[in-house]
Point group: C2
Chain length 252, copies 2
DNA sequence: AGTTGACTTTGACGCAGCGTAATACTTTAT
DNA sequence: ATAAAGTATTACGCTGCGTCAAAGTCAACT
């Protein structure tokens, strides 16, 4: 079935102007261009638009959305599962906001006291600080590491410099890790250097370095299949090796 | 208790740049400027910032937020009650989105069929069309007519022209209504003219004029204290008069 | 007191993601 | 055939900041 841009616009609520913009930036190309010059969309395009709107709902930039959708391993069913989880978290944030309102009313009426910090619980900006550890990690494994770091960088207002530094550290940590794995000594100088770099990478995104968290992250890399797969792509056995090296590093 | 902009920023998650911008546009002035030139915020400013963030959460522009907050009849407790209601509606929208995802998954697996229109249920843009009647009315009475019409205009992508036409019609309807009230005949030419204008104003925001809706709106103006207050500000007894005039108009 | 790093200001440029509008061509309905 | 609706391209502008440079202020340390 085919649709004109007006029909797609009415169906989705996205303006025709927006559809043209999406075509222009390569985010959503029409199925074909009629002899009149009119854009014609098909089933696949509607499905893509739906995905775009879900990612927009999660706060991704159009550039990031394009990357995610064009990744060779993009899987629609997996994406839906991710949307489901994220919508649930978003719903929780709304619950927190609702709680903030009810508490604010009670405070206004003198029925209870409320700290100034509490007044901002649930707002998007404040949520980043509260949930950075879990938020970052969970999204990262679901959506891919690069897109997440970009998303986090944008949300947190990190400078390009700082973000680039994080990228450099991560890349160097992984390269060092790979070299250390060839030697095979988690207590060795190279492995400990990799851990040091890894910790520095971690510190770019956290208020400050936390040894316990670093250690638990190493365990997570082994315990969670998806992380394990990610690291074993660097080299087989990498996840366990890094976990062991981190344990030694944090014990030192 | 006083706070520096850094402290407010950390507490609320709003950047210092944003705080400066809010000061610049008159949205959130600091309590005072220290001798150093630094902005110092107090309790009242924190409370105002909280309100700003709630309205932003509802999608209001900063200009509209400033108008709402500076209105002589702005009441914080009433505002909280409104935020509560709006957050609930927002939560319902999320539920609809979640439903859309689960249905999409089922459709993907071939377990059920899904129309193309259904794929977009719950997205912000699509929600406007589905709920315009109730959505517009409820927000209007809660937040003030002008702000709502501006908000709706923005959301719906109305042209400035069309919006201005709606404004002109509303103003003329109210002026005519006032003059008709002085005559005192709801069936009179002037009163019926006011109803005609009022109906035309209604039609600017609806897909098409609906007599039943127009009539129920007249009843609402009398039944709901806040509407009654609004119209009786034009002239005492105005709400009932308009309700009566509309009933006659719609019976004609 | 001097130094350094963190904090804060003002001024200014640029960006994402469109909305709006003009002009001209195409399609649809009467 | 005509008029209205639909659609394209081109181009400007807007909101709400993010980023950055330059300079002043504050706080902690030596």
């Amino acid at each position: 079935m085919e649709y004109s841009s007006n029909q797609v616009s009415k169906m989705s609520g996205v303006s025709a102007r927006t559809l043209r913009y999406y075509d222009e930036i390569g985010l959503l190309k029409p199925a074909r261009i009629a002899s009149s010059g009119y854009r014609i969309y098909g089933q696949a395009e509607l499905d893509t638009l739906q995905q775009i709107l879900f990612y927009k709902e999660m706060g991704f930039s159009l550039t990031d959305i394009r990357k995610l959708l064009s990744a060779p391993d993009f899987d629609r069913e997996q994406a839906f599962m991710n949307h489901l989880a994220e919508l649930s978290k978003k719903r929780e944030r709304l619950d927190t906001l609702i709680e903030t309102v009810t508490k604010s009313i009670a405070a206004l009426r003198g029925e209870q006291t409320m700290s100034d910090k509490e007044k901002f619980r649930g707002f998007k900006q404040a949520m980043i600080d509260e949930n950075e550890h879990q938020y970052g990690t969970e999204i990262r494994e679901k959506y891919g590491e690069e897109a997440i770091e970009r998303s986090n960088a944008r949300i947190k207002g990190m400078t390009h410099e700082r973000y680039a530094e994080g990228e450099r550290l991560r890349q160097e940590a992984e390269d060092t890790l790979k070299a250390a794995l060839e030697i095979g000594d988690p207590a060795g100088e190279l492995a400990q250097k990799a851990c040091d770099l890894h910790g520095k990478w971690l510190a770019v995104f956290q208020p400050e370095y936390n040894k316990a968290y670093h250690k638990s992250l190493g365990e997570l890399y082994v315990a969670d299949e998806r992380f394990k797969v990610y690291y074993d792509k660097i080299a087989p056995g990498c996840a366990e090796f890094l976990r062991d090296a981190i344990n030694i590093y944090c014990a030192g």
